[in-house]
Symmetry: C2
Amino acid sequence: MLNPTADNTLGRYLLFLGDTVEPGYAKTAFGLRDWAGERCVGELALPAATVSTGLTPMTARQAHDLGATALVIGVAAPGGMIPEAWVPALLEALEAGLDLVSGMHVKLAQLPPLREAAGRLGRRLIDIRTPPADIPVASGVKRPGRRLLTVGTDCALGKKYTALALTRALRARGVAVDFRASGQTGILIAGGGMPIDAVVADFVAGAAEMLSPAAAPDHLDVIEGQGSLFHPAYAGVSLGLLHGSQPDLFVVCHDPGRSHILGFPAKPLPTIEAVIAQTVALGRVTNPDIACAGVALNTSAMTPEAAQAEIDALSQRLGLPVADPIRGGAAFERLLDACLANQEQA
Amino acid sequence: MLNPTADNTLGRYLLFLGDTVEPGYAKTAFGLRDWAGERCVGELALPAATVSTGLTPMTARQAHDLGATALVIGVAAPGGMIPEAWVPALLEALEAGLDLVSGMHVKLAQLPPLREAAGRLGRRLIDIRTPPADIPVASGVKRPGRRLLTVGTDCALGKKYTALALTRALRARGVAVDFRASGQTGILIAGGGMPIDAVVADFVAGAAEMLSPAAAPDHLDVIEGQGSLFHPAYAGVSLGLLHGSQPDLFVVCHDPGRSHILGFPAKPLPTIEAVIAQTVALGRVTNPDIACAGVALNTSAMTPEAAQAEIDALSQRLGLPVADPIRGGAAFERLLDACLANQEQA
């Protein structure tokens, strides 16, 4: 089983924001709001929080009464721990009848008060970031089916949103396509996947092979990328995911407003050209035909005019389709065409 | 602590060979014989085994009487498991007064008979491949001290032996140098290190930073490499180790008799030139001054004349020092010079 908690992850959620003041830490909450909004009942934040999803604020009891099945920790705390200050709210959720869902490296059951309360009340503590136990070493053998991987110039700039937007738009065109989640938020959105960065290093490529299994020749898996080949901390995850995914195509995700690796002010961002060249050079190990379909730009901080100018200039420079998948439009249609072009040749 | 078992790993060992018939599976036994021979009391093999280290065969009781403190599982079984057939011999070792040491992914204590016997007898079950719990995400910040990493065109062709041979020879020249082990055999030889391939993927580069901490500017860490950037299963480990090691220099290890990735008959070996280019391109993320010091050839299967011809031809082709560190000689002295050249400039 790719994700033993799949049944749970299609529950209905109360999004917990803790005491978060930095929107960048609330990726899980925003991702669920944007891509699984019909399963989000409301939000719960501690008084110190300044971040909001815009969903209705409510207590755990109210959320339960409205059909929520679980409280999802929708924010990451620095260091990946669960702060003491969150525990009373989490206990209250358990008391109100909700399970707890977490995508952090630390396990919910490692906190004795949560373990005790869940046991006493018969609630579940669901750790989305726990990989299955039976991951094999990668075989490296090419498997049938087509695959597209989103890669990035950095973390946290749109690889998941791009993969989800491509999946939705290609499905609307009638393509047999599945989104394959490699991170905790994607897993909650899709109801399954592989928390690739929590896998023991020797098995990362094997885990990526499991995530996107053999399929019909005309089926497309759109695989959520992680990190960046040029990231000083996470590049090994990115490379294992690239090798195990064996993508026929990749889309480079980039934020034109970012000049340095997030959290690493001494590390300049690689160029898109460098990311394309390295992804092809390294990706050829498991798929000699790997090619770049285009670039997804995150222009969320730009005016429509500035975004269009950036998209046009970059497309000219690279000779590739460039689009902001969230803005859509003609540029995005050209990127979708490129995602299907190889298929017609195959 | 880098290695909580450091005290144990400097014990005296009985090398256990199981029922192994493939010498390639006995890397740990051979490594200990070759680099920590003074702490190897003898060997123990089951009747079906055909592999031998050449050390004196003996029972666990005899080894204990000769001063052995532990039985080391010196072979890897396919799949990384401990076969049922080995258990009686392991129990006999516990009864004879020996601890058990294993470098496999599976933990010794997962076998109930071993756990029960060790508990009853007060013996230790020591799993060398268990990383510490407190590994941070990599900082990417350059730290003082010089570092050399051995990299490879594949697994299992001399990265550990090269690192050990370089360390020994540089120490003989009066250089302040330490060997840093990244795999189970190296950890047993050195009495410490980091089992890098057993670390959770997000923390591999951080684990490599721990393995080779800040040091005096003229101190050199020679770090044992793992896998290969072109390996379809393990490249992510290699890249995380490269980034966290921040090497100033690297030595490419290669076996001229190997044409394909070991165990992946469909995957041709990368060229040495490709490994150099990729190691520089990716290594620059954490050390912009990374450079190749030369190549270590494993010519153990060749005549001295054929080895010399291969070394000369390759050195000519690459314009770099090339040597077989185990054969030594003038070529190896030139490789050692290259490992020190950067230091004099610094």
